[in-house]
């Protein structure tokens, strides 16, 4: 069970925080810990998908390809975020935004947050998964309200209330699933594996009702419109490395939970039509809402948050289309969006810190005043809007190809339309901000080495994945079709 390392390292890191007093050493140890986790998760995914080693299934854990893929996504963003934190948090302490003992609190919460997300994607018992998802909300709410300004407290309150209501509805859905189990004479168990095995015998109507509750409940957490209202507030007010984690992976863990139930529903109903209609519907609504609000947005970090809603919409449409090609598209999009959006939030964090404002119309000449961040942010802008040679282009292309092959022309038409709107809106907002003349009174600035490394790490992956894909696409489609079999 080398997987246990993934769970133990955050706990060990938390203990180290209690003992090590020097802030810099602490931050570096923290980052090294996440590098180790990243290594372990790569090995795990390689062994399960490429070497086809048997899947670990027990009452506690379920570590199939799907789980391990999400573990890897969490590890990648977790590592990048921990590296970026080294510079970002120590600057915050220097600027007197919070004390050094609060910085330790930050690292402690960071570890709990990551730990709860790892548990969400690796546990077998759906009741425990629910508890861990609620835990991610509670821990990250403290990180959203970390600066203790009026806005951040307001954002944290809305976040915790809206997501808790959503998640209670999801609990209702889980109970209905277990009711269907007991009607079918199944064991009294909430294990996903048992539920999946029994799926064919479950009452179809109850299954449908239960899935609606799950979709609305976990959809709230995933940021699907119209339940997305907490998302822009929370993402814009959180500490920048945490914004990256919220946007990059927290939303995806909720998507993971929806996928798990979707697999059961598809198997139980005998066709994927019901699931497909719902996912495409919610996906397109999310895309529409995000496109409209990105168009009129003034706040830099809120714009990035709405862009996350857009990408969750794309993922949701991809899940609705289904089939091996769309599956590869969806999985890659989950990964690519996590990487690219982290890059953008890191960039936005630097920009906001330097200019001390969120309003994009009051920020000019980023490339002139901070060339490194500015150029990477520019590249990230093209990546996030789906320009080649960046990897989001590839995953969106796969989803669109799958849609055309399936004959869903109208859906893909809408998808492309919203993507174009978002593209032009983002370029329109960001170009005056990035180019132009920087105000003269800005103090001199250069990014710390750790931040630069985090940026380059993400950029290398975003470009590398896209360049490597044409050689891997055949095996990729087979592997993804296997991982998301039944979607």
């Amino acid at each position: 069970m080398i997987f246990l390392a993934v769970l133990i390292i955050p706990v060990v890191l938390s203990l180290i925080i209690l003992m090590v007093k020097r802030a810099r050493a602490l931050a570096i140890i923290h980052s090294l810990g996440y590098a180790a986790i990243l290594l372990v998760s790569l090995v795990l995914l390689y062994r399960t998908t490429v070497l086809a080693e048997p899947v670990v299934i027990s009452d506690l854990f379920l570590l199939d390809g799907l789980s391990l893929f999400f573990v890897l996504v969490i590890s990648l963003v977790g590592f990048a975020s921990s590296m970026y934190s080294i510079g970002y948090i120590s600057q915050d302490v220097q600027d007197g935004r919070f004390s050094s003992s609060k910085a330790r609190m930050y690292y402690l919460l960071f570890n709990f947050f990551l730990l709860s997300m790892y548990l969400v994607v690796s546990l077998n018992n759906l009741g425990f998964v629910w508890v861990c998802i609620e835990m991610t909300t509670l821990v990250s709410a403290l990180l959203v309200g970390f600066y203790r300004t009026k806005q951040s407290v307001e954002a944290a309150w809305k976040y915790i209330i809206i997501c808790s209501v959503g998640i209670i509805l999801a609990l209702l859905g889980i109970i209905l699933f277990s009711y269907a189990m007991s009607l079918a004479g199944g064991p009294k168990s909430l294990n996903w594996t048992d539920l999946f095995a029994m799926a064919g015998k479950l009452d179809k109507n109850i299954l449908k009702i239960a899935f609606i509750f799950i979709l609305v409940g976990y959809g709230t957490k995933a940021g699907l419109a119209p339940m997305h209202t907490w998302l822009p507030d929370a993402h814009s007010q959180a500490v920048a490395p945490i914004s990256a984690l919220l946007s990059g992976v927290l939303l995806k863990t909720a998507v993971y939970a929806i996928i798990r139930f979707g697999l059961v529903v598809n198997k139980g109903l005998g066709s994927s039509e019901y699931f497909s209609h719902l996912m495409v519907g919610f996906g397109l609504v999310s895309l529409a809402v995000a496109a409209g609000l990105i168009l009129v947005q003034k706040d830099l970090k809120r714009l990035l948050a709405y862009s996350s809603i857009e990408h969750i919409g794309v993922i949701s449409v991809g899940l609705g289309i289904g089939g091996p090609i769309a599956s590869l598209g969806v999985l890659l999009h989950v990964l690519n969006h996590a990487l690219t959006k982290s890059l953008m939030f890191f960039g936005a964090g630097n920009i906001v810190k330097r200019y001390d404002r969120h309003n994009m119309r009051m920020i000019h000449g980023v490339i002139q005043s901070m060339p490194f961040t500015g150029i990477l942010f520019l590249l990230g802008t093209f990546a996030i809007t789906g320009f080649p040679p960046f990897s989001i282009f590839m995953s969106e292309l796969l989803i669109i190809i799958a849609g055309f092959l399936k004959g869903s022309y109208v859906v893909i038409g809408f998808l492309l339309f919203f993507l174009v709107v978002v593209f032009s809106a983002i370029i329109n907002h960001f170009s005056p901000m990035l180019f132009g003349r920087a105000p003269k009174d800005l103090p001199k600035y250069s990014e710390p080495l750790s931040e630069k490394l985090a940026f380059l790490f993400l950029l290398a992956l975003v470009v590398g994945l896209s360049i490597a894909l044409p050689w891997l696409v055949r095996d990729g489609i087979i592997a993804a079709g296997e991982i998301l079999k039944g979607i």
Binding site: N125, G127, F128, W130, V131, E134, M135, L138, A141, L142, G145, R148, K150, Q151, V153, E154, A155, A156, W157, K158, I160, I161, S164, V165, I168, L171, L172, I175, L176, S178, Y179, S182, K188, S189, L190, N205, I206, I209, P232, D233, S236, Q237, L293, V296, Q297, K298, D299, R302
Partner: protein, 211 residues
């Protein structure tokens, strides 16, 4: 026996809807939780299940004693204006609660097999509680009442679980209790901060962030 207790739950729920002050709301919540405790106890006796006895004991300890005490304490500490600030007056609220009950009844008839009226009644009560919890969160704009609304919704879900699915697996139940306790603590931390920064706890006035 079970049905009488369920009626008690529904009455406590209506009491919440007509409550005008925080203390009254919290007291009705404690009453509702107490009936829920009785309900679980009855099931535990019927099935002779030790785990269910433990669950009902925990329910009594957490939801009837600890959490109401907690909320009352914070309400005293921040010297909140006692009025809940009703968005909807008492008569309309009560009418809304009745509509909720009827809708829940219609829904329960759909889900539960027709030969089992006690289960249908329990399920009706459960969905009423959930809907009223939601109602409290939307139409009573104090931060504390939103906390209570959340707990009420959770009570409703608990009732659904014990009435139709025979309760959740034991350890899941324990984890959920822990979770609720944690969320109440964290919500209270935020109520405290909101009060300190805004000098009020009016969730309706938390409207800086939009667009």
């Amino acid at each position: 026996m079970g049905t009488i207790i369920v009626l008690g739950i529904i009455i406590a729920t209506y009491l919440m809807v007509v409550a005008k002050r925080v203390t009254a709301l919290v007291r009705s919540f404690a009453i509702q939780s107490f009936f829920l405790f009785l309900y679980t106890l009855v099931i535990a006796r019927r099935e002779g299940n030790v785990e269910l006895y433990i669950v009902s004991g925990l329910l009594f300890f957490f939801k009837v004693i600890l959490i109401p005490h907690f909320i009352n304490r914070i309400a005293r500490k921040i010297k909140v204006n006692e009025n809940l600030g009703l968005f909807l007056n008492v008569q309309l609220s009560l009418f809304f609660a009745l509509v909720c009950t009827y809708a829940s009844w219609a829904f329960s008839r759909m889900v539960v097999p027709a030969q089992d009226p006690t289960m249908a009644i329990a399920l009706t009560a459960a969905f009423t509680v959930i809907l009223v919890g939601m109602f409290l969160m939307i139409f009573r704009m104090k931060a504390l009442s939103q906390t209570v609304g959340l707990l009420v919704m959770e009570n409703g879900v608990f009732l659904v679980a014990s009435s139709i699915a025979g309760g959740m697996p034991f350890f899941v139940e324990l984890a959920i209790f822990l979770d609720i306790l944690l969320s109440v603590i964290i919500l209270n931390i935020f109520v405290y901060r909101i009060n300190k920064m805004f000098t009020h706890v009016d969730a309706a006035k938390l409207n800086k962030l939009k667009g």
